[in-house]
Symmetry: C2
Subunit: 320 residues, 2 copies
């Protein structure tokens, strides 16, 4: 049962894509106070609420605290960021309006380097990485479809215990999510958490966009399954060069997990098809640069990233 | 001026694609006796002749000695093979009908390993590799467009001087082509000739099919230009492991040559778009295997080949 203090916690969800809609939606559905910052789907959500289809029970939020401008939002204790990493340039200004002094920020984003890149004065308290191990996408501007998995892995980038209203730091944060029905995985090492997610993201996001294929097609074909595993092994080697503990067998484990999950188009596929900017910087350029710095260049990953950069600049119908 | 003996030389051109049409067309246009084996365009060429547009002077052959079955062809002194390497399984049977005892075979094909793979009894005399440094494609079944370059690089795989009616071996062969207006480059080392061609073919054939782009797009974008050069350096390293002399600067030279040529879609692009089989074996699998055997694995090339294998099996419209 929440204490008096915890009851008053106020959450902000920055971004109302599939990820923001799913995690923020569950928090709101459980009775927590959540304020959403939306862009393209602001009107749709304000007018019609938010619909989330999920195997654990579809739900609909009729009234959503949704905002189009950060200036209009109240200051919040926990700011969850579910923007694409490409939009992080706007984050310092948003946080200056939304994050209360000593509040907690959770960057629910893929890739590497986001926390390090944010200006120190933008982050006023504790900072966590949130890695969503989830298959979710949007069926309509105010309609999220959650198809598989769903755990959020939390790892502390920086903890400022004195200033937290989330008693217990990450543990308190985790309990808030769990009470709302979100499965939380606690990762003790921040760097490992980000790299581990990349082990899956680098092959499947990039290949899905470059080859226009879902995870089932990519893993059923032995060529791309082998390529995905080879890409993973490069990422694992680079992670180890940064001090992470990660066995090579993690690659095989991720391939097997992908083989057994429902066919899925990762977010980069959707971004590519919709003509949106791809998260090439956080998901490829930064890891590639750090792997090179660690003397473990990821040659296959570089090849894929170079192709993606080209494809991004030349999006057009494939002729066959 | 041809000697009495050379006048009687009889040529066969196996395959009437852009390459067979261009080189065979020039030989026939110069008055040489050329017998063409055609498949899909047999009727079109028999009915309407062969048209070749080329910067050095368009021409049209009203009557072409064109055949649909090798059995119907006369035995020839020089058999030029301009089939795709994927069709080489049919070559022993064809040669058994067309190549005269002690005659000369020229495999005008890309890739590696074709000569070695042909059964010994299929090749009855001298064997040359012919590497076409040429931009040519088909505008219609009986219409070849030659847009740029055009040299044929000849290298002896095996010379059987006693049995040759082409006096002077490769030199005599070269002079026949030159008299017909084909620029000939003499390459003393067979293996280097095949690998050198791969230095260009591996990046530009594969990337043009995988990324659906022409050479100008691929070289104007710095990502794919860098990738093409990196692919070339891998091929050069593998070639050197097989004893070829090839400096790294050859890669830069090929990039510069590509930058200055007219925008071009290599043959693999056309094969891909038309749903035809790609030359993945001769152009990728064999070189990749030999590079691994030589302890110089071509990691980027392997990545590209794995993608191509997937794309080939999943050809479909790209969604953006």
């Amino acid at each position: 049962m929440p204490t008096e203090c915890e009851k008053k916690l106020r959450f902000a969800m920055i971004g109302l894509g599939a990820i923001g809609g799913y995690y923020g939606g569950l928090l709101a559905q459980s009775g927590r106070e959540v304020h959403f910052l939306a862009r393209s789907n602001f009107e749709a959500v304000r007018a019609n609420g938010l619909r989330v289809d999920t195997p654990s029970g579809d739900f609909r939020l009729q009234r959503v605290n949704v905002y189009h401008r950060a200036e209009d939002m109240p200051r919040c204790d926990v700011v969850l960021v579910a923007l694409k990493a490409t939009d992080n340039g706007a984050l310092p200004a948003i946080l200056s309006h939304v994050l209360r002094e000593g509040g907690t920020t959770v960057l629910i984003q893929n890739g590497l380097g986001q926390e390090e890149r944010l200006p120190e004065n933008a982050l006023r308290g504790s900072v966590y990485a949130g890695l969503g191990f989830i298959c979710a996408s949007k069926a309509a501007p105010n309609h999220v479809i959650h198809s598989d998995y769903g755990a959020l892995r939390l790892a502390a980038y920086r903890e400022a215990p004195g200033s937290l209203r989330l008693h217990g730091g990450a543990e308190g944060l985790a309990r808030e999510f769990e009470a709302a029905g979100v499965e939380i995985e606690r990762e003790s090492d921040f760097l490992s958490a980000r790299w581990k997610k990349l082990v899956w993201n680098i092959p499947f996001n990039g290949l899905s966009a470059a080859l226009q294929a879902d995870t089932a097609e990519l893993t059923r074909c032995s060529s791309t399954r082998d390529l995905a595993e080879a890409l993973m092994l490069e990422v694992i080697a680079a992670a180890r060069a940064e001090g992470c503990t990660m066995p090579d067998t993690y690659a095989r484990q991720m391939i097997d997990a992908t083989l057994s999950m429902k066919p899925y188009f990762p977010s980069m596929y959707h971004d590519f098809v919709a003509g949106r900017e791809l998260e090439l910087d956080a998901m490829y350029a930064v890891p590639i640069e750090r792997a090179r710095a660690g003397q473990r260049p990821m040659i296959r990953v570089e090849t894929l990233a170079q192709e993606l950069t080209f494809l991004c600049a030349h999006r057009k119908p494939r002729k066959c």
